[in-house]
């Protein structure tokens, strides 16, 4: 753990999703870190990361928004301006993770953008020196906490549970900071370490449809369908995700995905529905945290039957 001034604690940037549609992600994430004895400190006064609309309309405005978050993190994490130190900021939502990383990179490599963002920050009395490391919870769990440490704390191994590990597109592309951009394996290793059977899932970084499920449903839902179909074909009991939007798309459009299949032989029945859960929910179950405290009840496609079938619930 590099942020010595935080004495082994991590700053935590939830972003809007983890307080809204992705509440189950936050609930389970906080429960898991608590169970592992790692303290997360929520960033004071955080704001929107600048993803989606902002980024496509005006990049610099988006960078300014994330720049503020980074500046706040630096101030909160390094109160006495410790030299050469770094602050670790955990960003669980893939969109936040990407935008924060992009802001960091653009401020560093494009001086003109860096200057404009700095000017914007200055008007709010802020300044960003570049000492924040944006971390994904997968990265922290596997590379800081460690698989051995986590395995020691497992109470209910996820034995026999077949999981399709789904990373989505954003956490390894284009900033492959902790894993390979084409074939990431961090979640595979993590879930394997707590006893799950990780199925080979070649679509692990393919697109979930993003916001296309809303504004261009024909395309978005086709992408959702391809992901679900392949996971089913590979024998997965559940899909594990790291992203609120991926979780929502895969969970909410299952019926339509089935219904819209062009080579439709049969509409999906309840038994063919595939629960889509956060990796933190599975990890929580393995650590013996009750399902209610992991937000499992919030799924549209209920996960409980599949989990119960394998005896992990």
């Amino acid at each position: 753990m590099s942020a010595t001034t935080l004495a082994g604690r991590y700053l935590y940037y939830p972003g809007c999703s983890l307080k809204g549609t992705g509440r189950a992600y936050e609930t389970s994430l906080l429960a898991v870190f608590r169970a592992l004895g790692v303290e997360l400190l929520e960033l004071d006064d955080w704001n929107c990361c600048g993803a989606t609309a902002y980024m496509s309309v005006d990049e610099v405005k988006a960078f300014a928004l994330s720049g503020r978050n980074l500046a706040l993190a630096e101030r909160q994490g390094l109160p006495d301006e410790a030299r050469g130190e770094q602050v670790d900021l955990i960003a669980p939502c893939s969109a936040c993770y990407l935008v924060l990383n992009k802001t960091q990179a653009y401020m560093r490599y494009y001086p003109q953008i860096g200057q404009r963002v700095s000017q914007a920050l200055q008007t709010a009395g802020l300044r960003y020196k570049g000492s924040v490391r944006i971390r994904h919870p997968l990265d922290v769990l596997v590379n800081d906490v460690g698989l051995d440490e986590i395995a020691l704390k497992v109470k209910t191994p996820l034995k026999g549970l077949k999981v399709a590990p789904y990373y989505g597109c954003q956490i390894v592309r284009p900033f492959a900071t902790f894993d390979d951009r084409h074939n990431p394996v961090t979640m595979d290793r993590l879930l394997g370490a707590v006893g799950a059977e990780v199925v080979d899932y070649p679509l692990k970084t393919s697109c979930c449809g993003g916001s296309l499920t809303g504004n261009l449903p024909k395309v978005g839902v086709t992408l959702v369908h391809a992901l679900l179909d392949e996971a089913r074909k590979r024998g997965a009991d559940v899909i594990a995700t790291v992203c609120p939007l991926c979780q929502f798309n895969l969970d909410a459009f299952q019926e339509r995905a089935g219904g819209r299949r062009t080579n439709d032989h049969h509409a999906p029945t309840a038994s063919q529905q595939l629960p889509v859960v956060y990796f933190t929910q599975l990890l929580g179950l393995a650590l013996g945290i009750p399902a209610r405290e992991l937000g499992l009840q919030a799924n549209i496609v209920p996960a409980e039957p599949a989990l119960a079938k394998r005896g992990v619930l």
Binding site: N183, D200, L203, N263
Partner: protein, 674 residues
């Protein structure tokens, strides 16, 4: 030993300054310099500086009339120093030294000022360029004022050449040298010579059998009395200097005495392993071998090798040792053999250490290592080869023949994420493999290329032939190899997603087998090897030639030459041509009884030396010792190589170096800054 024939009568002190008569010559180099620098103004400015008797500008100083200009001024104006402001000294320092020598002035009283490479080619603004040229010329004038007369250092040249690497480059260079009458030590790391070429089945574009053209050369090496073949050996130390290299070679224990072995291979038959169980490196793991083996049937030397990591005798000491019994009276097996160090003395060295192919695991999107039916092109070369693991049958790992094959070009080439260069051979070998696969399996073959590069003799014609054979050539870079099927036709296949840039659409093409045309890259230890031999090396690891056009097989280290792909990707014809050139250069080099080198050796002023003992330990050539009686360091000019380490380390300024004396350098710096 070096001769110490050097005069230092002119010691460079200021007392003789009145006698200094400098001529300054500013070259236009056509428009190379004059297009940016106001050469007339530079010459006029130089003429105003102390000591300068004459200054001129001229269109081509290196041309005969240019040189004549200098000689004439020396004769008529009594010049005793010359500054030439032109190109880098790498190019024409020799020319102008010779010219002044011909006019009777010591050649070391010339100073070159580079106003082309360091000024006109790299400066945008003409005024800035002119001012900078003036600064540098002023520095040259100040420096040359303090130059002294020197004599070149003369080294005798030892006979014999070390050739490192026994691929086709090393083989060809060694045979050429041996034919020319020189003795060659050919050192190869693997148990047999042959290199990559021995792994191929056919060669492009002629489709002649690789072994058929290579093995006569390999056999010739074995039969050539002028070649000492050292396989299973590596160079571990290189000492000495130009024309006088001292090299240490480590011979790994083969456990079989080469002189006694008759190559009957009965020991291999008799091995306690009845079946070959160890992965054969030569077949890239596709085939198996025993712990006692020859890597391939035509191996040279035709002597087996025992791999002590898998041999039961070495692992447990419990083995009936059938090999020894089978060898019988021939008594060629020695299980107690140890590695030995061989010391060689040679005059020249040729490096022919070759390349390695790109490891496609670095690009997981192509599925190598996760899908069993994704192969590298080199693996397929072994499959196609009659002596390979499938006896030349193109079958996949499950034994089935592919009905459709996709060959992806540029894997690890022309790619900013891996290697940026074009590997030069992949388009052609991919076409060759397409032809062979189609001929032997009747499979549907798809080649996916970015650009088709066929710039060799008979190459484009070969490409035309392939088009007629009905190979599908798709212009586009494959984005993914996956086993995720979208339609029933894709089930059980590997699907290649590609943007067909001629069609302007994204296509999904299902195939049974994928071949990755992996690029060529420097060997993993190329940087270490370049340091061992003290030669230049690009960041990527390709060895650097002395000049890309006009000294393509020489290195910046005299007496060391390059051949083959260690210098950059190249095909067999180019490799052989370069190997011949390297051998010719080495023969020329060795044909002189001695060479004249720069008299840039160090010397120690005993009056200033405090005997601190710092320099003797630093000298890489053991040229310095401390006279304990006088308490001063003593330097042997015969051993000094002019590296300058002692000069830099000396705390009292006692160690100095000819052509780089402190006052000469300070004068130059003062000149730049004045």
């Amino acid at each position: 030993m070096r001769d110490e024939g050097r005069s230092t009568a002119d010691d460079g002190t200021t007392s003789h300054l009145h006698s200094v008569r400098i001529g300054v010559y500013v070259c236009h180099c056509g428009t190379n310099i004059a297009g940016k620098v106001n050469v007339r103004a530079v010459a006029e400015y130089a003429g105003s500086l102390p000591g300068v008797v004459v200054s001129r500008d001229y269109k081509y100083m290196c041309a005969d009339p240019g040189q004549e200009l200098i000689k004439k001024d020396i004769r008529e104006l009594g010049l005793n120093r010359v500054v030439v402001a032109s190109c880098s000294p790498h190019l024409h320092e020799e020319t102008f030294r010779r010219a002044v020598a011909e006019a009777g002035v010591n050649p070391y009283l010339v100073q070159m000022v580079s106003i082309r490479e360091q000024v006109s080619w790299v400066t945008v603004d003409p005024d800035v360029a002119t001012a900078k040229a003036m600064d540098l010329v002023r520095a040259g004038i100040k420096r040359v004022t303090l130059h002294e007369e020197l004599e070149p250092v003369r080294y005798p040249v030892k006979p014999g050449v070390l050739v490192v690497g026994g691929g086709i480059a090393g083989i060809y260079a060694a045979l050429t040298l041996a034919n020319g009458g020189d003795h060659v030590y050919l050192v190869e790391r693997e148990p047999s010579i042959g290199g990559h070429m021995a792994m191929f089945d056919k060669t492009f574009p002629t489709l002649d059998c690789s072994a058929c053209i290579l093995t006569p050369k390999m056999t010739a090496v074995k039969g050539e009395p002028n070649i000492t073949l050292l396989t299973y050996s590596e160079v571990v130390e290189v000492g000495g200097y130009i024309g006088n290299f001292k090299v240490k070679v480590r011979r790994k224990p083969r456990y079989i005495i080469e002189d006694k072995c008759v190559g009957c291979y009965e020991c291999i038959e008799a091995c306690v392993y009845k079946e070959a169980k160890v992965s054969n490196e030569f077949d890239l793991g596709l085939g198996k071998r025993k712990p006692i083996y020859v890597p391939f049937p035509q191996a040279i030397p035709a002597v087996p090798v025992i791999d002590d990591e898998t041999c039961i005798w070495f692992k447990s000491g419990k083995c009936p040792r059938g090999c020894i019994k089978a060898c019988g009276d021939r008594d060629a097996i020695d299980l107690d053999q140890k590695a030995e160090i061989l010391e060689l003395e040679v005059g020249a060295i040729i490096l022919a250490t070759g390349f390695q192919t790109f490891d496609p695991r670095r690009l997981p999107l192509y599925g190598y290592g996760s899908y069993p039916n994704v192969y590298t092109a080199l693996e397929v070369e072994r499959l196609v080869n009659a002596s390979g693991p499938t006896n030349g049958e193109i079958v996949m790992r499950d034994g089935a023949r592919p009905k459709s094959v996709g060959i992806i070009h540029c894997i690890g080439s022309r790619d900013e994420k891996t290697n940026r260069w074009c590997s030069r051979v992949c388009c052609m070998y991919s076409l060759k493999l397409a032809h062979l696969v189609k001929e032997r399996t009747q499979a549907e073959v798809f080649n996916f290329y970015i650009d088709m590069r066929t710039p060799g003799k008979g190459f484009e014609e070969f490409y035309d032939k392939l088009l007629e054979e009905g190979v599908h050539l798709i212009r586009g870079k494959v984005g993914e190899v996956t086993d995720v099927a979208r339609i029933p036709e894709e089930e059980g296949k590997l699907v290649l997603t590609v943007e067909d840039t001629l069609l302007g659409m994204v296509r999904r093409i299902p195939v049974d087998m994928v071949i990755l045309a992996v690029g060529l890259e420097p060997r993993h230890d190329a940087h270490a090897v370049s340091q061992l031999f003290n030669i230049g090396c690009s960041n990527a690891g390709w060895f650097t030639e002395r000049h890309p056009k006009l000294a393509p097989v020489s290195t910046m280290s005299g007496g060391i030459f390059l051949a083959g792909a260690c210098q950059g990707p190249k095909d067999i014809p180019d490799t052989v041509a370069q190997a011949g050139a390297a051998a010719a250069e080495a023969l020329t080099f060795l044909s002189h009884p001695y060479i004249d080198a720069e008299p840039n050796t160090a010397y120690i002023d005993p009056a200033l030396c405090s005997g601190c003992h710092i320099c003797p330990g630093l000298c890489p050539y053991s040229a310095i010792h401390v006279d304990e009686q006088e308490k001063v360091a003593v330097l042997s000019g015969a051993l000094c190589q002019g590296c300058g380490v002692c000069v830099a380390a000396c705390p009292s300024g006692a160690a100095q170096q000819y052509l780089f004396r402190d006052e000469q350098l300070y004068a130059e710096i003062e000149g730049v800054l004045a």
